[in-house]
């Protein structure tokens, strides 16, 4: 579709998640975009190139030779004061890893969509969270979107969160390859002036700058066992951790403000769905959540006291919010779209168990893994997750359950 952003009024458009992300970049008036295409992200950067060509996005677009250069270009741009954007996934993210892992330590507020894709091998070009999960401890903020509307809204909000002076960290906005990247639905496109007021003028290199008028050395050599090395290094690390911690508050405040101006109240850290009086709960991440909510409605109709908790902000992990939400349930079933190889379960499952250390009574739990490499997690699949978790209230959990391990293409 060919949406036109209006200066002063919101409007409805039908588009997929990749176009929604590109529209958000245009709304955020990003200065510098560096791109390298990779499935299922490719159409996103094609939209960006088209928006630049059509004059809809007044950014400099750099079409570089690979993802390592993508992020290196954007680091330089951010240090020169630019608001920046890129998107990648899977093997592209892997190739980007060296500048990726440097970015949080440089405290650069880059925004990068991960159009999530399963990792190789075996060969696959389809969706799954394994790429984003593989870099979850690199120090980037990571938020997962449920719907096309949430993709647009979260990419815009990501700039305000990243550029918050108490945060100053890069943000990944994760949207599911296939189901969200290509899934189309109606969304509301906010007016340009509302976004301008919301984001303000970029102020991204007040702390470290490539600027001939105020020359400074960037990224000093630190560490070692003597001199000021250890103290400097530890100081920077503690600063990063403080920024991550501060992000919880910035994410919450940003979502509240966005809700105030658009009327759309997306849950900032976690969303509790029908958790009132819930005896047990299922946990979700990303675009699987819609089918999960439909399954919860069906189960509630059948008299099961079940609710759903969606984790939106995965890094920093919302420990306190999750512990509070799950405080009164007896059992949980956690559905992951990726694998924690070290623990033979899903990564959200493992993080949730750590958060439950803060809960008074023991809670029984079960890890489910589904939706790998583009597999579908249907309402019926969630029905089985709910049944299994229901039985857990009165019995112990077992080994990880693989949701799609018997799915075959129809004959």
């Amino acid at each position: 579709m060919s949406a036109v952003i209006q200066p002063r009024k919101a409007q409805y458009v039908v588009c997929d998640g990749n176009e929604a992300a590109a529209l958000a970049v245009a709304l955020a008036r990003v200065d510098m975009v560096a791109v390298y295409p990779i499935t299922p992200q490719s159409s996103l950067v094609e939209y960006l190139a088209k928006f630049v060509a059509d004059g809809k996005l007044a950014a400099e677009l750099v079409d570089v030779e690979g993802e390592h250069s993508v992020l290196s270009v954007l680091q330089g741009a951010a240090l020169a004061g630019a608001r920046t954007y890129t998107a990648t996934c899977g093997p592209g993210l892997a190739f980007m890893f060296e500048p990726y892992i440097r970015t949080p330590g440089l405290r650069l507020p880059l925004v990068m969509s991960i159009v999530t894709r399963d990792t190789l091998s075996p060969q696959s070009v389809w969706g799954g969270h394994q790429d984003a999960m593989s870099v979850r401890e690199a120090g980037w903020i990571q938020m997962y979107c449920e719907s096309v509307q949430e993709v647009l809204d979260t990419v815009v909000m990501a700039y305000r969160i990243a550029e918050d002076h108490n945060v100053m960290l890069p943000v990944n906005v994760c949207h599911d390859g296939n189901y969200l990247s290509y899934g189309s639905t109606r969304i509301e496109l906010p007016a340009q002036d509302a976004v301008d007021t919301f984001l303000g003028t970029p102020d991204v290199n007040w702390h470290a700058a490539l600027d001939p008028l105020r020359p400074m050395a960037i990224d000093p050599l630190t560490g070692g066992a003597g001199g000021v090395g250890p103290a400097l290094f530890v100081g920077y690390r503690k600063g990063q951790c403080a920024g991550m911690h501060n992000a919880l508050e910035a994410i919450t405040a940003t979502h509240q403000e966005w809700g105030r101006i658009t009327g759309r109240q997306h849950a900032p850290l976690i969303e509790e769905y029908r958790m009132d009086g819930a005896e047990f709960a299922i946990l979700t991440l990303g675009s699987m959540t819609g089918a999960g909510k439909d399954a919860i409605d069906e189960a509630r109709t059948r008299g099961l006291a079940v609710g759903l908790v969606k984790v939106k902000t995965y890094r920093p992990f919302p420990v306190a919010a999750l512990a509070a939400a799950l405080n009164d349930v007896k059992a949980i079933g956690v559905v992951d779209r990726s694998v924690d190889f070290g623990w033979n379960c899903g990564p959200l499952y493992r993080d949730t168990l750590s958060a439950l250390h803060h809960v008074a009574a023991p809670i029984r739990s079960q890890s489910f893994i589904g939706g790998l490499a583009g597999a579908d997690i249907t309402v019926e699949d969630f029905g089985r997750v709910i049944e299994t978790t229901s039985a857990l209230v009165r019995g112990a959990g077992g080994a990880t359950i693989w949701i799609n391990d018997k799915d075959r293409a129809p004959a």
Binding site: Y12, V14, Y179, S184, R186, A291, D376
Partner: protein, 186 residues
């Protein structure tokens, strides 16, 4: 929605979703996906409802099957999971009697979209023709809303004019037949 790579099934699904939204409905289009290969079987799924649709999933129990290609049904069971009383909108130059239909199909719209496409585009791209056929067969969406969705799409100038003609001819040249129970048992 079934077709082959290059016929525009994915674009047709998005245009249909836009047209449904134009009419005040909620709609979600989710294409299935694969390596981009011309001629390979492709499917796309469209859900519509008067209330918000939350599930972003494929469809396994369709009410209606729109088939953009005359032979893809030889490779893929396009009738998999179809609900009783279902509808088939099919590209074909054959009469109804030559089609093998499961008993669940109650309504059939047939359109010789390949011939029409070759006349308009000189290529067998049947997607917009079959959107016209869908509108005629089901009444689910109006021709006016489909026209508006096409006009809001990336189609421009001569391409837009051709596709508007294709939509109209698909609507006009589709023959709709309702099968009674005896037909379906036979």
């Amino acid at each position: 929605m079934h077709g082959r790579g290059g016929q525009g099934a994915v674009l047709a699904a998005t245009i249909l979703a836009s047209a449904l939204v134009e009419e005040g409905m909620c709609a979600v289009a989710v294409p299935s996906f694969g390596f981009e290969r011309r001629g390979a079987p492709v499917a796309a799924f469209v859900r519509t409802d008067s209330k918000e649709i939350r599930q972003m999933t494929n469809i396994y129990r369709p009410d209606c099957i729109l088939c953009l290609d005359p032979t893809v049904g030889h490779t893929v069971n396009i009738f998999e999971g179809v609900r009783a009383g279902g509808t088939l909108v099919q590209t074909t130059n054959k009469p109804l009697a030559d089609l093998l239909l499961p008993p669940a199909i109650a309504t059939v719209g047939l359109c010789d979209a390949v011939t029409i496409a070759l006349a308009i585009f000189r290529r067998p791209i049947t997607n917009t023709i079959m959107l016209g056929a869908l509108a005629k067969t089901t009444g689910l969406v109006s021709l006016a809303a489909l026209r508006a969705a096409l006009e809001a799409s990336e189609f421009r100038d001569a391409g837009l004019a051709q596709n508007l003609t294709a939509l109209q001819r698909g609507f006009d040249e589709t023959v709709v037949q309702h099968l009674d129970k005896a037909d379906r048992a036979a």
